[in-house]
């Protein structure tokens, strides 16, 4: 267990004109995705125009519950940044959000329930601003199509949306739909050694 998934010194987001509201929302533990008010198309990363209808009008749609499905992932074994030297292999995942027209975002997967012993209530996880400990997720347990939900990783002035395996009924249903639409053609990836 650590304060954050990565050691200190890793880059953190700095909101710009297009996404400062997005990061202001994550700071308040709300996953908000842009949706065009004219044609209803969701989009991410935040941009000013709808790519479908060119409208500038949009709303931030609250992801409640903030759930999704692992669309793809990698286990990074060669550190590429000075802050990562010595950190064990880590995962990067792309999660497809179930309640936002299938938009996808890059994130890390963590374990909130190691050994299956201490289930953390979902309500606490999504709404309680108090820090909830996150653990390394066994890379061998990661699958495309896995149901996941948001975990908030607070830094001093910014909060990152990470994800953990979910048992939320809606997430399970989304995972089932995903697997039906794209059933795996390969055996689960072999992973050499634990992270």
């Amino acid at each position: 267990m650590a304060d954050s998934y990565f050691p200190k010194g890793m880059p953190l987001p700095q909101g710009g004109m297009h996404d400062q509201e997005y990061w202001a929302w994550t700071k308040r533990h709300r996953l908000m995705i842009q949706r065009c008010t004219k044609c209803g198309t969701f989009r991410h990363n935040p941009i000013p125009h709808c790519f479908k209808c060119r409208s500038l009008d949009y709303l931030w749609v609250d992801q409640v519950p903030p759930i999704g499905v692992v669309y793809t992932f990698t286990i990074v074994r060669a550190p590429a940044h000075p802050a990562l030297v010595g950190r064990p292999p880590f995962n990067v995942a792309v999660v497809e959000l179930s309640r936002a027209g299938g938009v996808r975002l890059a994130t890390n997967l963590v374990d909130m329930n190691p050994n299956g012993k201490e289930p953390v209530s979902q309500v606490a996880r999504w709404n309680n601003p108090a820090k909830v400990p996150a653990f390394e997720l066994d890379p061998k347990s990661i699958r495309i199509g896995m149901p996941v939900e948001v975990v908030w990783e607070d830094h001093e002035d910014v909060t990152l949306p990470l994800f953990c395996p979910s048992t939320d009924p809606e997430a399970l249903a989304a995972a089932e739909r995903h697997t039906k639409a794209a059933p795996p053609k390969t055996a689960p990836p072999k992973t050499r050694g634990a992270a």
Binding site: M10, P11, R43, F73, T74, A80, H81, L84, L105, K185
Partner: protein
């Protein structure tokens, strides 16, 4: 879209510096750029001062006016950079040179790339600052920091959807490494790999192994583009530029593209074939830019050599290896040799411009892995970025 430039321009000269592992160049990146250009003019038999157009890509640091000054070029008529896409712009820089020559903006155009990763930072390392803005704010904080991570995500999804395996990716790596063993200029010359060694090699970003990744190098390469009429007065038999294309499909950079996972060649390759008037079956040899082998596979698929998702099995049986290097009895040996100099993986990563010079050698009949009777060669530049570009040359 009508295409009037078929065979109206040609490559009349090629030049390269020696290729080295990153950090080993004893001279500056700028000097290497100039050397490659001088060598190109010598190859063509053209006085350097007649060069009047300079083209590059990937934000090459060595700009045209500095080069013109250093080389005593009296009149530079066009100084042009292919905008964005990194290594995706190699063929695009040549395409822009073609357009300038064909339209009369300049007479003798150099397209070049010089890259000293030892002097300016390695592509495989991130120098992201403590705070990142824009697109980077949504990737770097999650450890998604360099190309291998991004392409590993594509690779994993391709495996999931189509059953592609690491053994398929190994086919692509082996083809390049085998070809490099015949090429003394290749950095991996004398360092062959086997299927066993590939599978034993460490993962960089799963499912991509060390041997799935391009090298990081120091070196430069250049080509001279002019009209066939002008080439008649030069030394080399011209290599004709049949067609070139550049651009991007939808949503590059995001993960929500309806085409993901993709090399981003779907629309560009369609333009290329339409302009060339030929089809994939007419290609006898090809140079396909490798950032990672998985992207090569998607580039091959999206260029129409096989259906989407079938790139893995397509690469089996030695199909992409020259007969000279394929395993005895390989059922498809030599059918479509790829990266005959060793490519970005095993010759050198000069950001893919060394693939254009190899295509020209194939057309001249001077490759170290010469494909007998090859009359046409495809070059596909960096996949998975935006914009991407590709071209077709003929003898």
């Amino acid at each position: 879209m009508p295409w009037s430039m078929r065979d109206k321009t040609c490559i009349a000269g090629i030049g390269e510096t020696e290729f080295l592992p990153w950090g080993q160049a004893r001279r500056s990146e700028f000097q290497m750029a100039c050397e490659a250009i001088i060598t190109t003019c010598e190859d063509a038999g053209l006085p350097v001062e007649q060069v009047d157009g300079i083209f590059s890509y990937a934000d090459d640091r060595n700009n045209g006016p500095w080069i013109a000054r250093a080389l005593g070029i009296p009149q530079l008529r066009i100084n042009n950079m292919f905008w964005g896409g990194g290594g995706g712009g190699g063929s695009g820089a040549v395409c822009n040179a073609m357009m300038a020559v064909y339209s009369g903006v300049c007479n003798y155009a150099i397209a070049f790339r010089s890259l000293a990763q030892g002097q300016f930072g390695r592509f495989g390392q991130s120098r992201a600052a403590e705070r990142v803005q824009g697109e980077g704010a949504h990737s770097s904080p999650f450890g998604l920091m360099n190309p291998v991570h991004r392409y590993a995500l594509h690779a994993r999804r391709h495996m999931h959807e189509f059953g592609t395996t690491e053994d398929h990716l190994c086919n692509l790596s082996l083809a390049s490494y085998k070809h490099a063993q015949r090429n003394p200029r290749a950095v991996m010359y004398g360092r062959p790999i086997t299927r066993e060694l590939y599978h034993k090699s460490r993962y960089i970003s799963e499912p991509l192994h060390l041997y799935d990744c391009c090298q990081e190098n120091d070196g430069a390469a250049a080509v001279l583009v002019t009209t066939p009429e002008r080439a008649r007065d030069l030394k080399q038999k011209p290599t004709f530029l049949m067609a070139a294309a550049q651009g991007t499909g939808p949503h590059e950079g995001g993960y929500a593209s309806p085409e993901y996972p993709t090399s981003n060649f779907n629309s560009v390759a369609k333009d290329l074939w339409a302009r060339s008037g030929i089809e994939p079956k007419d290609i006898q040899v090809m140079q396909i830019y490798e950032n990672m082998t998985s992207m090569v596979l998607m580039s091959i698929e999206e260029h129409g050599f096989c259906k989407r998702g079938e790139g893995g099995p397509f690469s089996d049986g030695g199909r992409l290896e020259h007969k000279l290097v394929a395993d005895p009895g390989a059922p498809h040996a030599g059918k479509l040799p790829m990266n005959t100099s060793g490519g970005n993986l095993a010759e050198a990563y000069i950001h893919g411009l060394e693939l254009v010079t190899e295509a020209v050698r194939q057309m001249r009949g001077t490759s170290t892995c010469q494909v007998e009777g090859a009359e046409i060669c495809l070059v596909a530049s960096g996949p998975g970025v935006a914009p991407v570009s590709d071209l077709i040359v003929r003898r």
